[in-house]
Symmetry: C2
Subunit: 329 residues, 2 copies
DNA sequence: CTGAAAGCGCTTACAG
DNA sequence: CTGAAAGCGCTTACAG
């Protein structure tokens, strides 16, 4: 028989009004210090805590923030999620986790979260349509995108500088004398894949080069491994494989090793993200660091700024990347 | 200017009472099919969704489940979390994610979650005291522990068969003729560390053997790497290192390779969990499979069973493990 | 099957 | 600084 102690119980026990106990628990409310202390003490002994659901109903804020995350078991997603959840928690928010499962529709999930009166939503996976952004706005819940920007959506975004990152990697390869560069892309229709590939093409063009072979995985280690084998077995003469992210790059290294191809001697390999683990294993990966902590913090900042000023212009924050040269290239 | 459309708006537009629109959205409520359809249609056009916070206040259920997770960027935690979140979501629950940050107290977090009137809590990290279990019970929120069992706590647990797993690994090593076996434990005071070490000692004893060297990491790759180097540099003569989990085992393999020690020729290495990634890399890991999906499903089942029967006897479900022989041992 | 009323546990103007 | 009252948006007995 669960016993919920309510503000009324505390009020009665402390000999004050219900409004007083509410005020005692509200920072900055007008209560005499003595009374607040007394109420808090009584609440303590009764084991009272304000019911946040009831408080949320009053309309101010629930403290809930929806977080749409991708496959958590993938290194980058896990890494980002960890920082996001930490940042939110430290700032007093509670993350409501919405997994972007296969054939699940992000709009549907956001709608559901909105029904919980979340104070905002951070979307780090799946594709977001204007429609969703509109729903959020009309519900008064700011929407912040991570790793994707939606043109004219009215949603704030934070995204790393994909173009710069790939440019740095291409330049390194070119300086090493690599000329026959292959590209292993990630899932089509993703923002990251597009920006990264475009930068590779453009930078190569600047050196009067072009992509020599092109394949596509799905950002997973396994797909990197499979495509790595396929590239080798195709017999195409290449001296470098640039991958759209680290997980695939690690898979490719594994595949080449299995085919007896030496990295970086025969073929150089590059990744993107610098996930924990990029430095370990058979051949430490040359990659570009995607600053997830900064990303998480910026996302939170955008969220809070938007709560203050719901109708200011949407912002796109580009966080900087840095080259991380290791052995693979 | 966010506009929230409420049940009243729908009622007015549909020409019915507010109770009717509530019933239209409640499965199994007594409404004529025609009326329900009509109400639903009107709600649809107005863009109405029941406010789950308000619904939660009525006292039944909020659909919220607290999930206490460890460091998400670690492979096992991420893997488990993924399955947990998927299972909860598919069953209509919303996971409220509570990170077990360093020097944060699980009791505090659970208390906070309870204030959100969560329907239950699943704890897969941190240590849980009887106290917490009691708080949950008195709040009417079932508590389910994963990977830890609390004696006489009244909390249900699901935990893999640690003893069996380590026994299988020891037997394999002994059959290979390994006699000088070292143990690399994880964080002290964790349930997994204790059960696993005990089983190793006990099984070795059965073969008239004992642990030849003992070290302790914190379940992370990095700590495995560090301790791996330390073991080698200590000059102790050993022919196998059993690790309390995969992440450390992978770190050890890395360390030995750096010292020019051959795995498994010179020294065999074993892990525990069979995380994705155990099969990849320099030397595929011989380990034991910790069935996370089954674990997640069982946890959910325990949670729901407990909602039905709050006072039946607490259960400890042991999920089975299987040996996964690969190259490292 | 349907509606009017009471109530869930808070907070916040409104008076004092 | 403090209390009485109204209200947040729902659901659920209670009548009919």
């Amino acid at each position: 028989m669960p016993v919920r102690v309510t503000a009324d119980d505390v009020a009665r026990a402390a000999g004050v009004s219900r409004a007083m106990v509410s005020r005692a628990f509200t920072a900055g409310a007008s209560v005499s210090a003595g009374k607040r202390e007394h109420v808090l003490r009584v609440a303590q002994t009764l084991g009272y805590r304000p019911n946040l659901i009831a408080r949320g109903l009053t309309g101010q804020r629930t403290g809930l923030v929806a977080v749409v995350a991708g496959e958590i078991s993938r290194p980058y997603e896990a890494w980002l999620l960890e920082h996001l959840v930490r940042a939110l928690t430290l700032h007093g928010y509670r993350p409501l986790l919405l997994p972007a499962l296969r054939n699940t529709n992000v709009a549907e999930m956001i709608d559901h979260a909105l029904a919980y009166q979340v104070d905002g939503a951070i979307v780090a996976a799946g594709s977001v349509s204007r429609d969703i952004a509109d729903r959020c706005r009309s519900s008064g819940a700011p929407l912040v995108l991570i790793g994707r920007v939606l043109e004219k959506s009215g949603a704030d975004s934070v995204c790393c500088n994909n173009g710069e990152g790939m440019r740095l990697l291409v330049e390194r390869l070119v300086k090493q004398g690599r000329r026959r560069i292959a590209w292993l892309g990630g899932s089509a229709d993703t923002f990251s894949d597009q920006e990264r590939r475009q930068s590779v093409e453009q930078t190569l063009k600047h050196y009067a080069l072009s992509i020599q072979a092109q394949r596509r995985g799905d950002f997973s280690f396994q797909s990197g491994f499979n495509e790595g084998l396929a590239i080798m077995d195709s017999g195409e003469a290449i001296d470098a494989i640039m991958c759209a992210n680290d997980a695939m790059a690690l898979g490719v290294i594994e595949a080449l090793s299995q085919r007896g191809v030496l990295v970086p001697d025969d073929v150089a390999i590059t990744g993107f993200d610098d996930v924990p683990g990029a430095a370990w294993g058979r051949c430490p990966l040359t990659t570009v660091r995607n600053p997830v902590n900064e990303t998480a913090l910026e996302a939170l900042q955008l969220l809070e700024a938007r709560m203050q000023a719901p109708s200011s212009n949407p912002q796109v924050v580009r966080v900087g990347v840095t080259l991380v040269p290791r052995e693979s290239a």
